[in-house]
Chain length 672, copies 2
Amino acid sequence: MAATPIAEELARKQKEISVAEFFERNKQLLGFDSPTRAMLTSIKEAVDNSLDACEEAGMLPELLLEIREHSKGEYFVACQDNGPGIVKQNIPSVFGRLLYGSRFHAIRQSRGQQGIGISAVVMYAMLTTGRPTRVISKIGPDHPAIAMELILDTKKNAPDVLKQEVILWKDPRARVEDGPAREVKHGTRVEFVIKARYIRGKQSPYDYLRSCAIVNPHARIVLVEPDGTQTVFDRATEKMPAQCVEIKPHPEGLELGTLLKMAKETESYKLTSFLVNDFSRVSLDKARQVAQKAGLAENLRPKALDLEGAKRLVGAFKEVRLMAPPTDCLSPIGETLIRKGMKKDVSADFVVTHTRPASVYSGNPFQVESGLMYGGALGKEDQSTLLRFANRVPLLFQQGGCAITHAIEGMDWRRYGLEQKGGKGLPSGPVLFLVHIACTKIPFTSESKEAVADVPEIMAEVELAMRECARKMQVHIKKRARLAKLKEKEEIIRQLLPLIAQKSAHLLGRPVPPIEPVVAKIMNSVLIKEEIEFDEKKKLHHVRLEIINFTPTRKKFKLLSVVPADALVPGVDPKPSSMENHIITWDLKGLQTAERLQLGFDLMGLDKDGFDECELYVKDIDPELVNGAEPWDAEAYEKRLNEKDEEEEEEELPDENGGPGGKGSCGKGGED
Amino acid sequence: MAATPIAEELARKQKEISVAEFFERNKQLLGFDSPTRAMLTSIKEAVDNSLDACEEAGMLPELLLEIREHSKGEYFVACQDNGPGIVKQNIPSVFGRLLYGSRFHAIRQSRGQQGIGISAVVMYAMLTTGRPTRVISKIGPDHPAIAMELILDTKKNAPDVLKQEVILWKDPRARVEDGPAREVKHGTRVEFVIKARYIRGKQSPYDYLRSCAIVNPHARIVLVEPDGTQTVFDRATEKMPAQCVEIKPHPEGLELGTLLKMAKETESYKLTSFLVNDFSRVSLDKARQVAQKAGLAENLRPKALDLEGAKRLVGAFKEVRLMAPPTDCLSPIGETLIRKGMKKDVSADFVVTHTRPASVYSGNPFQVESGLMYGGALGKEDQSTLLRFANRVPLLFQQGGCAITHAIEGMDWRRYGLEQKGGKGLPSGPVLFLVHIACTKIPFTSESKEAVADVPEIMAEVELAMRECARKMQVHIKKRARLAKLKEKEEIIRQLLPLIAQKSAHLLGRPVPPIEPVVAKIMNSVLIKEEIEFDEKKKLHHVRLEIINFTPTRKKFKLLSVVPADALVPGVDPKPSSMENHIITWDLKGLQTAERLQLGFDLMGLDKDGFDECELYVKDIDPELVNGAEPWDAEAYEKRLNEKDEEEEEEELPDENGGPGGKGSCGKGGED
């Protein structure tokens, strides 16, 4: 066989592929695999860009999104923001070049991180309707508004500006919202025509913006749909989310190759100063420890670091305990705002949210927030609903391919009282899950940014966050079920017993006997009822507890109420025996049969929606006798506290790749 | 507010991102999101490349894959093939540059289509272990073997060759397989060290190669695992799959942008010759029709084609009926080989496979093949199993994010007798599904090539292919259930009746009465039993049918047997009343109560495993009386035949985007 010509023939076909040609041929990677999805992807990229720009400039976002049918199967889309604008010379590259952007190299949470999104839309518009994209930008009141028409040349992956002019930019929001036609002060507007399909309902632009509003309560977005319908997603808060600070790489989970590259490029002349200057959380003291453990000289020139040295350095990072990365590069939404957003969406019997402390994967800080709703308007027979978010962006597609889904599917929900076929997969029943991942670099499974990759550390954190919610849901379900049963029992007894007593007394001609001891004998239970009221004026939650001893004997026990960590407790009545670690403890010295006792306390600093069920426990009494409180488990509570402080190692990490969670703080909890 | 400085400050951060830097930071896009998956991805890319190279050169693939633990958490991987080799000057770019390759622009089925795979492995190796990749290549017996050590410079996305030498290349297969240490004639070997984890079981390299063997029966692969275990996946056939021919783009579903670009770059001077020369399936006659419908002059210079003209041209393509794209660019596996592969893997009661005719999405020809197994060793309680393949490559990850999964999940399997919660999701029960998509460009959801995007046309074809299998499974399940019930009934009757008859005859002192009429009265059924035997020598399937009239009256009806389209029927006994359209029809003139009739026929040209259940139908008799055959439905069969010939429009396409299936042939059916 003559092998020569084959290899040489093949060689002639081998050539370079432009990155734009690559994505042109693989549009589905960017989220353009169907007309419906193309519409959503285009809108998402434009909106994400606008929100990022406004937040970076510290401006409350004010967006206008207009969608019109242009011709059959073609839609005109315009997205306008009140952001800082884009300087003229950068407009072509921002919109007409793939892999170009400001957020790719920055280590902090942002929506756009790839430098692909909006340029991909420009490319898709050209490819499907042959029309250029129009961009208007104004960077300040004293600057002219620049309008540009451009396309992306896929052969070169470079912008091609077809037209450029200075215009007088009247705010179309005035037209849309019937205000005076002012001139725009600053902002960006992008207009394109794409082949797409406009739908409403699930996975629609409307659905996207509605979800967007849950996690971006500081943004105001006006949507004008093709049929003229106008919807205002108004802001729920005037407060900007905490601005995310750019940080340096954290040594935890650092790749060898990255370390070598950093050492080659550093401006430091000594190993220790390289470690201190180019990484976060490495003090001079720690740097010296690291160098020593790695067996490297402190004054080694970083550029001289070889493979073996780098390997030892990576090993030493693991041995020397470093502080977890700073979390001010992240902007979680916070338990209260998530709860608020969920409640606005659906009404349910029970809502719980949880924000995990920050963690790290491959050197990237991230933080998981979870929410769970149960009962109420949620369908009993249906499959549970899952809302996924990444860096405040709703993820509407690719649910089945997402680490968030996989983590929840992998949990045994039967243990928490839900129905789940074979103990795997999404459980069914009246449940809604919400997960938000905040991260300096979300590991998406594709450029379309709709699913998170199965990174073991992230999956473990999602599971931990969900377990916290699940545990509370389980208590709630059990408590409700027992109370409902007891209520039924009590009702029957209270209706029947007096009748029986009267009847038999009458028959026997004797006085009616006291009923309470009999009730107690039958009920044989200490009942704890709770009532929560919110005082709008004083912004206080009044909690009232009533304890009734429905047992035939005197009862003596301790009642504990765990209060939210972020709440103040201005008043407790009667005086508790102790108050520490967010636990109010009452020592109930003795409660006679049928005796009732009133207890109460106030909580301050919580949102109206922030508290709707007490966490009650009892001690020194057979828990089987008590209804309305759980048996106290000091060890479990200890563990919970520790988990919050993240002192313990995450023994849950399913992979050797998982680093310890670090000992960072509890996260900032967003803007609330 | 001073907006100027903000926009200008942001502008300073905007910069270009190298494609390699992009993928370095987004390794998960390439399938490197966990150490386990990194191992599989690396092996997959190397094996896919080797198989592609061998097939392109028309050589039967002979692969050696060696995996050794290099140090804790680091593995050495070597993949060697007997392919055509790579010419020296191209080795650096093939292995050290992302977006470089020979298969990206070619319109024909191949495993690698992106020009990313193996270079990504080289990058990952460098990044995680700091080690260069070693490549050995020899392009023929008279050429030297070249060994090269290289890395990928991510800043430049360019190869950096560290070492290059000519070596004497002894075949390590000799060492592994204990043969003589010959010199390698031609081939490629790639060696790298990666941070990874080696597992066995699900989603392991072993699992991958095992699945690979099902769809690549012509390849021989030797696997040496880290513990020294050696497995040979031997070839099941010496026949190469039909070589895939490169075709030109088909006008169906062509994007406007692509058309404009092609018009700009064509070497033709006239519109009609441009259409004839640069597209497939456009004859001069059709080209003239298209030009006329588009209102364009036949001699219009393609370079002068404007947006409006191009739009009209795209419209005209839809109006003029063109032949479906040629399918010799595809290489389906074929029903028989799929059946064989499935049977080798698991033993089941029932196997059915189906190859759909070729179809098109956005101008890309594709073909879907499906397989379904039921019962036997498959677990009754478990969720069904799904094996996914794309261009003969097993897809092991991202099942939940794949169009194949979504198409199957969207079907109501309860209609076909399977359990399926809420009529959605993968059904449970003893079922295994297999789907293979062959396409000139598989629309993967990410560069890691583990899931197919939700392209409506593909999903519709998967559903059609699966429905064909599901329908047959349903008939099988019903038939089995009825026969089992009947068998039970018959057994009881046959055991009890003679005893009763004897006993009562004895008691009354009268002769034992004939039993058959009584049996018939109770059974009231015409029973059709089948027996299939394979004659190894003559390569014939002998089919024997027995018909027993277990009814009290004489029965007259027609029996039809549908035989596989690809089988010859050399003998039928007794002579049928007709034989056409793959249907054998017997006219059964009259069968007395308890009368038995033997029928039989032989099938030729089918694989041993290719036939294990008859398709039997009856006509002109109450089908309720018959067990072992279905009522004949001429209309349904007509429809089936038409579907095969693809004369009808695919009314199932769920999207306006879906083009007609075309009127192409039935596909080549692979190498069988």
